[in-house]
Structures are given as C-alpha cells and as structure tokens.
Subunit: 184 residues, 2 copies
Amino acid sequence: MREAVPIHRIVVEARELFREYGYEGASMRDLADRVGLRPQSLYTRFPSKESLVREVLALTLDDTLAGLPDPATDARGAWRTLIGRIAETFEARGRCVGLHLAYGVTAQTPDAQDAVRSFFARLRDAMAEILEAGKAPEPASVAADTLAQLEGATLWITTEGDMGPLRHAVERALYVGDLGAEPR
Amino acid sequence: MREAVPIHRIVVEARELFREYGYEGASMRDLADRVGLRPQSLYTRFPSKESLVREVLALTLDDTLAGLPDPATDARGAWRTLIGRIAETFEARGRCVGLHLAYGVTAQTPDAQDAVRSFFARLRDAMAEILEAGKAPEPASVAADTLAQLEGATLWITTEGDMGPLRHAVERALYVGDLGAEPR
DNA sequence: GTCTATAACAAGATAGAC
DNA sequence: GTCTATCTTGTTATAGAC
C-alpha cells in the first residue's frame, strides 16, 4: 500500500502551477505528475479543478498573515513584516498567484472568482487594519493602493527580470506605514 | 462569393479575447465565431494562434502612441495624453491585454513571449522619452514605475470594479510628469 | 479566402476494481 | 486512497474542394 499524499503538498504544487501557468494553463495532469499521482486520484481529494483555487488562496492568505506582530502594540513591525513577506514571494517566484488568478478566472467558474475576490479583500482589510492601528490616514484606500503597486511591479519581474520597480514599490509602502513612528 | 473579413477586425477581436480570457483561455474557435468565420479559415491569415499575440500588441502599441503631441515641444501634453489613453482603456475594459499576456505566455510560445517583452519595453521607452524631454529626473526608472502602478491598479477593477486605485495611480503619474511645468 | 471534413491530441471528469 | 479504463468535449492545425 502506497503512502497517501498529504493534502497540503497537493495544494502547494497547485499553487505553483496556477502562479506559473494560470487557471486555464494549469492542468490536473500536470498537478498529478508533480505529486506522483494519477490524474483521476486527485478527484477523490478535490471535487474539481475549480475548487483548488479556494484552497490555494486560503493557504496563501494564511502564509501571508500568520504570526504577524500584533498591530495594536507594534503596527510598524506588523506592516514591515507583511510588506516584506509579499515582496519576498514576488522576488522569489517572479509573480503573484492571486493576480494571475484574478485575471484568469471567469464567470464560468464563479466559485473560483469569489475565492479570488475574497482573497484580495481580506488581504487589503488586514493591511488597512494595521495602518489604522498605526494612525495612518485613509487606511482602506492606502492599503488598496499599496497592494496594487506591489502587484503591478511584478510586470517587470515577469517580462524583464527587473526587480527595480518592486523595490521602489516596497520603499513607498514602508514610507506610508511609517506615519506615527519617530519623524525622519 | 463572401466578403473577405478585414484583418484589422480579426486582430481587434483577438485582443478582446486575450484581454478577457488570456492566451490559454482564448480559443481560435471563439475568435472565428466573433468574426463570422470557420476556425480553419483563420489559418489562411495567421500561421498560428501564437502569431496573433504579436499582431495584437503591435496594434495596441500603435493605438497608444499614434498622434501624441511632440515631446520636444509639448512634453507635458504628450505625457498627459498618453497617461489618459492608458487609463481610459483600463477603465473601459477593466484590465490590460498586455498584463494578461505577460502572465499568460510561457516559454512554450517563445515568439509570443518576445512580443510581450518588446511591447512593454517600447511603451516604457516611449514614456521615458517624454519624461526626458520634460527634463524629469531618472526618466527610465520613473517610466517603469508609473506603468507598473497603472497596471497594478487593474487588480481592483477586475476583482471589485473599484476605479479608486487607478485614479490615484493616474494622479501620481500626472504629478511626476508635471516637473518642468509651472510650480504648483 | 472561405468552406467541409478530418486528423491528432489533451482537457476535465466518472465508474468500478483493489 | 489509488489504480486502470473510459467518456465526452474542446483544442490547434492540415488537406483539398470551390
């Protein structure tokens, strides 16, 4: 009897595929190959390819937000850690799964579309909460703008391997999160 | 004998499909349906689906840059017109074809990948040229950052229909292009 | 240039044995 | 939980008539 493949492993590999190839470009066959299963065996763990989107984004949100410093006592540290995590992932992987899925899922997969919307809304809200705890003005708007700038910078990583725009986006992000800290 | 379908029409419809569904998600059958042809007839006009990427992006670059004010005599006007065109397209269509293709084409379609890289490099260079004519500092870097910020803002249009981040990105873009104009 | 017909293949998903 | 086998559909692309 063969060792059962951990579900976490499947979701992690699915994330790699979605990030690199997008929703349409990722196939259940490729995923099965990566985890050493037959394609059909995936369907005993997940009802459909579409359902993988929610799993992938739930894992990613958890990776991003778990164990952050408490915004109430260390808003600046929470902000810097969060921005750092996002930027590190973009640098290491070259792109964002969430953005690829945001562009890649359509009304034909409404559950996946909802999962994407929910993912970004939660991430933005977590960012806004930190900014608010740090007494930054317009936290919701600034959170959305900051996330957009980080995401947009992945364009240059993907097309040219240029990390410059991401680094600039990180600098701007750290600056807006510094309000309330000692003056510079 | 039936009227021949203009090639421009096919490329325009291909652009809509690529923008909405991405490279993998767009099918030659869908494209054929849109222009009123059989899928097979497309192959007398284009050697492959991959070749459409270059055509679509060439058309888009032309739409974006054609007839701009001369940067040498009106850098501020050229910049404002260019940013306005990009932003209008993003607002009207909700997303950017170029970004969808940047994420969506892989090493398996190297010609398409090169077309995407070339598209963004040319657009950035055109923006940098305008900034340089307007005596803005670090034109190449600022051009790349500006384009990244506009692109990133489409995340919120796609997921939530929120135009706020795009409008903020436009404001920042117009600000950096105002250097050299009368002080504010 | 467009058509009909078809090739050659890969996709997501299901049934039932072990 | 994983397997073999199979179904159904959709994909890009080609051959040849008109």
